[in-house]
């Protein structure tokens, strides 16, 4: 009874206050980024922040135009938002540039390397980094693919997040003694050829959270199946599309994580006391249907490393 009363009071207090205005900006319209945004909203909703009642969201999307990203940030400032959520690096950089001398909190999301992006060091800025553990992925591959010597990676050198991860892949590969063949693809149209160029040259393919590869994923899947090459992609939502191994996290979960940070800030913790967080809890999925299709065998020891399996079209999650 007491708990119910307390909950009612809390909800009441939240309801009675002026709606909090949160500006959410992202650089492009993109499924992963949209999922992230949805996760943030969901996290807030679960904590009692309902759109139209005690919170008001202003969504803005720069459509790839950096000057518009700046204009959006300035618009948010002019409107007097209470908090800004910026998704992806360029949008975050624009927001921090505009808000850095204010005390309006900024929470960034889906920024792979916030330090290199210059976002860290401002008292009103914190957020969540979507940097994946590249080394862990490579170690996983070494354990699961017997005799792995040569690894192929496709990426878009123009995407800063992706370029950072590729640099990390190069470093980790060197440390682990794997020969890495990196193929650039400047746009989705270039991905099929880039993937095909790996046929016969690599023992496995590893792609990170590169937006260009994500957009042209089917081409890479087709090549990996054709060449019977194990393919690891750092996006767990792609498992059903035919990727052999998926690691990483769902951007919706990343949004939930970001939402938690937003909630902390809304409840009174100043951003400078919240160090930016890395997405933890990497999942590992094996697609046994594809394995059968290309004649790949997961050893029993390898299977132990998975957090989930796809079999007969159904996901089986380990408890």
């Amino acid at each position: 009874m007491k708990k119910l009363l307390l909950a009612l009071v809390v909800f009441g207090l939240i309801g009675a206050a002026k709606p909090i205005v949160i500006g959410i900006t992202q650089i492009v319209d993109h499924p992963a980024l949209n999922a992230c945004r949805d996760g943030i909203i969901e996290a807030l909703r679960r904590a009692g922040y309902i759109e139209g009642q005690n919170v008001q969201f202003i969504f803005a999307n720069a459509q790839g135009d950096f000057s518009v990203a700046m204009a959006i940030a300035q618009d948010f400032l002019a409107r007097g938002v209470d908090l800004v959520v910026s998704i992806t690096t360029p949008s975050s950089q624009a927001v921090v540039q505009v808000f850095k001398d204010t005390n309006i909190p900024v929470v960034f999301s889906a920024v792979t390397d916030p330090v290199a992006a210059g976002l860290i060091g401002h008292p009103n800025v914190t957020g969540a980094s979507d940097m994946i553990d590249v080394r862990a992925d490579l170690e996983l591959l070494l354990k699961v693919v017997p005799g792995l010597k040569r690894l192929g990676q496709i990426y878009n050198p123009g995407e800063v997040n992706s370029a950072t991860l590729t640099e990390m892949t190069k470093k980790a590969a060197k440390e682990l003694g794997i020969e890495l063949i990196v193929v650039p693809a400047e746009g989705t149209a270039a991905v099929p050829l880039a993937a095909q160029s790996l046929l016969g040259r690599v023992d496995a393919i590893y792609c990170t959270t590169d937006n260009t590869v994500a957009a042209a994923l089917d081409a890479v899947i087709e090549v990996s199946k054709r060449g019977k090459i194990p393919f690891l992609f750092a996006d767990p939502t792609s498992l059903e599309r035919g990727v052999l191994i998926c690691t990483g996290f769902d951007y919706f979960d990343h949004g939930l994580l970001t939402g938690e940070i937003v909630l902390k800030v809304l409840r009174g913790t100043p951003p400078k006391d919240i160090p930016f967080v890395r997405q933890a809890g990497t999942k590992v999925f094996f697609n046994l249907d594809v394995a059968e299709e290309i004649g790949f065998v997961f050893s029993p020891e390898a299977k132990k490393l998975a957090t989930g399996l796809l079999f007969g079209g159904q996901r089986f999650i380990k408890e």
């Binding site: 459509q63 204009a71 409107r79 690096t89 123009g158 800063v160």
Partner: protein, 294 residues
């Protein structure tokens, strides 16, 4: 407040609009290489600033890089006789890779690094909040005056004639090819300098920040002409800068009030393209309405 940001952007991008005015209106050359030279200026200035160089010098060197890239487009189009649009596209494509190489990564953070706009604002003891717009205004004003003076020299006058009647220049003993190369160099120098300033303004340089520069530049020049209807050279130069401010203002207004009429940022590109299209087609349409052939 809404207008201040638009004014700042309008003036800083105004230098780019002046560059596009020079290539598109004075030389009658639609130059697509600006999509590559804009981030080139940003990239060069960016790494120089990160290495500790004076931000003004860094921007000037960025402009110098743009000058060379513009000259390259000019050489491709004149000496190698590659059609103008293709020449610009080729330069733009080459610069994409070059810009990546210069920066070493696709994005450079300049947050917290010295900016020439702040430096100038301090130097003139600008009132708080107005520093950037005044500094940008000074850059624009100085550039506009220099451009006007240039276009009134023998060289500038020949360049103006070249855009409309290159054969006349041949019969007056001047090689129009050289004028085009020089004009494109100056134009892209301005665009690259603008890119260097924008990088310092935004706090970062990104290899993708040039996409859509030519459209924004054309929109600025054309909107300025529609609003101010210039009849003199000075009027045309002012119109280019004014158009740039008006264009950024329109974006800000659309962002702020657009939601009410169902207008989103995604529609901005369509609207911009429509404005440019309408203005470019206006002479033809007007003539058709009057029943003449264009």
């Amino acid at each position: 407040m809404l207008f201040l940001g638009a004014a700042e952007q309008g003036l800083i991008y105004g230098l780019m609009a002046l560059g596009v005015y020079l290539s598109f209106r004075v030389l009658s050359f639609p130059d697509l290489s600006v999509d590559g030279t804009f981030p080139l200026g940003a990239a060069v200035a960016g790494i120089l600033i990160l290495r500790g160089f004076n931000p003004f010098l860094a921007a000037l060197v960025g402009g110098g890089a743009g000058l060379m890239a513009g000259a390259l487009t000019g050489v491709l189009a004149t000496r190698l006789r590659i059609p103008g649009l293709l020449a610009g596209v080729l330069t733009m494509i080459m610069l994409y890779s070059l810009n990546l190489r210069i920066m070493g990564r696709p994005n450079l953070s300049l947050l917290g690094k010295p900016s020439v706009l702040n430096g100038l604002a301090q130097a003139i003891s600008a009132p708080r909040g107005y520093g950037t717009v005044l500094a940008a205004g000074i850059f624009c004003a100085v550039t506009a005056v220099l451009l006007l003076l240039f276009l009134h020299t023998e060289l500038g006058g020949a360049m103006r004639a070249c855009g409309q009647n290159p054969d006349l220049l041949k019969s007056l003993g001047t090689n129009p090819d050289n004028l085009r190369i020089l004009g494109l160099a100056i134009s892209n120098g301005l665009v690259a300098f603008s890119g260097a300033l924008v990088a310092q303004y935004s706090g970062f340089a990104d290899v993708g920040m040039g996409v859509g520069t030519i459209v924004a530049g054309l929109a600025s020049v054309i909107i300025g002409e529609l609003l101010l209807r210039p009849r003199s050279l000075w009027g045309a130069i002012l119109a280019a800068v004014g158009g740039s401010v008006a264009y950024r203002l329109a974006i800000s207004v659309a962002l702020r009030y657009g939601a009410a009429v169902g207008f989103t940022a995604s529609d901005l590109r369509l609207v911009t393209a429509l404005v440019v299209l309408a203005a470019l087609a206006a002479p033809t349409l007007r003539a058709a309405l009057r029943g003449e052939s264009p």
